[in-house]
């Protein structure tokens, strides 16, 4: 490595401009710190460029297209609908992703955060060298550093990423809709994109190693999603271990083990979405004086401080779920901690988790089973969207909301939702749980009618033994 002679002096340097990094940088600047942010790729990170946002855009296009293909009960005949996929991709790239990433850049500038493009490597615990794409780069000597390095897709040895074998990024950026698409990994990322492409017209096969897809969610919650997958003509094969592939004239032959037998399928594209790993291996971490744990994560205290008190770590490189909203929250904690805020801490009670399948699945807090495992006696109430006027008027009646409360205190401790706008509804219950509210607090709050959110009030009434609509 060529080390430039010039050393910059900075207060706070943030490495990585994803949802953790850019939020940390802005908050640090708001709190009066002089901030430099380093990004080797694109501002916005995985979430904005190749993750949350573009996947939601494609899922939306898929849903809109699927509506034109499905029969509806209210007499709307659409006829032959045509999708210009190139235009859909251009819309996703320019009108959604670019608009947001440009917005993030201008927010950084507005807050006087200096953006440096390049790859950072530790030189010492107090200094990083940033190498731009071309040029020698410069050293940055800092008082505090926030590491927001993110994560990247796990590659399977027998399926190296390339033209044929796609990671989530490759799958999002396809130029054409594949006729036959095979997806290895039935977690939420795999199932979201599987359903998006199935809605767009692909025949999608999902291979999952465990005994069911969306394994992080309880089986009842996944049922309506599996029913929709079936109506989209998807093939889901569980307990299947993908072993290798061969390319021939008629496509990619994917071999997998099922019940000790080798089976085979043929696809135009294969996507591998089996998980992500932390990017803690590309920054010369050994020169920082930090140790990684066995999973490659950086241990931190409740203010996101590492074993080196001036080095902070947030997001996918520290423990907890790899979620954008977790990273941003931790970014704000780290920024405030650097500013000397003694009260700030990474002490949330719950984090909501959402799968943008159709219907959407969203959970927060504990399931009844998880509560019981912790010795907590619970009450549970379920309310079906089929009994909700707004859901009926939308012709989206599959699914339910389920609330879990602690029997002794009546406090809400968990919610599991599957159905229309579950991703939006989960916010109300997250607020209630984090603020230690009870079912009674929800029932005494007037919910607008008609709305999907009324289901949360209805389920709360059932928890109190005074259900009205079901």
């Amino acid at each position: 490595m060529v080390v430039g002679g010039f050393t910059n002096e900075v207060d706070t340097i943030v490495i990585g401009a994803g949802p953790g990094g850019y939020v940390a940088a802005i908050r640090a600047a708001q709190l009066g710190q002089k901030v430099v942010i380093v990004e080797k790729d694109q501002v916005g990170g995985v979430c904005l460029n190749v993750g949350c946002i573009p996947s939601k855009a494609l899922i939306h296009v898929g849903r809109e297209y699927a509506k034109t293909q499905a029969e509806n009960p209210f007499g709307l005949k659409i006829g032959q609908a045509e999708l210009d996929f190139a235009k859909a991709q251009a819309w996703k790239d320019n009108n959604v992703v670019k608009k947001l990433t440009t917005g993030v850049s201008s927010l950084l500038k507005k807050n006087k955060v200096q953006i440096i493009s390049g790859e950072a490597h530790f030189v010492s615990p107090n200094k990083v060298h940033v190498t731009p794409k071309d040029g020698l780069g410069e050293d940055y000597h800092f008082k505090n550093i926030i590491l927001a390095l993110g994560s990247r897709p796990i590659e399977l040895k027998a399926f190296p990423f390339g033209e044929d074998i796609l990671d989530s990024t490759g799958l999002l950026n396809l130029k054409e809709i594949p006729k036959e698409l095979a997806i290895i990994g039935g977690g939420y990322v795999g199932m979201e994109l599987a359903m998006a492409y199935a809605s767009l017209g692909s025949h999608v096969t999902v291979l999952e190693g465990l005994d069911r897809v969306l394994n992080n969610f309880d089986a009842n919650l996944v049922k309506p999603v599996l029913a929709e997958a079936e109506s989209l003509n998807m093939t889901i094969i569980t307990k299947a271990m993908a072993s290798r592939y061969e390319k021939s004239d008629d496509g990619l032959h994917l071999f997998y083990k099922l019940n000790d037998k080798e089976e085979e399928l043929v696809a135009d594209k294969i996507a591998v979405m089996v998980g992500r790993k932390p990017n803690t291996d590309g920054i010369s971490i050994e020169l920082s004086g930090l140790d990684l744990d066995e999973r490659g994560l950086i241990p931190v205290d409740e203010q996101m401080r590492t074993s080196q008190s001036h080095i902070y770590a947030i997001g996918d490189i520290v423990k907890g779920p790899a979620l954008a909203h977790k990273a941003s929250y931790e970014g704000k904690v780290a920024a405030a901690a650097i500013s000397g805020d003694k009260g700030v801490a990474n002490d949330y009670l719950v984090i909501p988790t959402v799968a943008f399948t159709h219907p959407e699945v969203a959970t927060v807090g504990m399931t009844q089973k998880e509560a019981q495992e912790q010795g907590i006696e619970t009450k549970v109430a379920t309310f079906r969207f089929a009994s909700n006027g707004r859901a009926l008027s939308m012709d989206e009646t599959d699914g339910f909301v389920r609330l879990v409360s602690e029997k002794s205190s009546s406090r809400l401790i968990g919610a599991q939702l599957v159905g229309p706008e579950a991703s939006e509804l989960i916010g109300e219950i997250t607020l209630a749980i984090e603020n230690l509210m009870t079912a009674e607090d929800i029932t005494l709050t007037i919910h607008n009618h008609p709305s999907l959110a009324e289901t949360l009030m209805d389920a709360s009434e059932i928890l109190l033994g005074q259900g009205i609509h079901q």
């Binding site: 805020d341 009260g343 949330y348 406090r411």
Partner: protein, 50 residues
Amino acid sequence: SDIRTLAVPRVRHYAREKGVDLHLVTGTGNHGKITIEDVDQFLSADPTTQ
């Protein structure tokens, strides 16, 4: 018990700022929650805590 079940996020922040252990504070708020006033009351009753 977990302090996160004793008070809402704002009060947890306030207690940390003041160096107060929420386990030692009696909550007078809804459902036994500890309020900002409870933390202040605790501090004025026992000024050595700070």
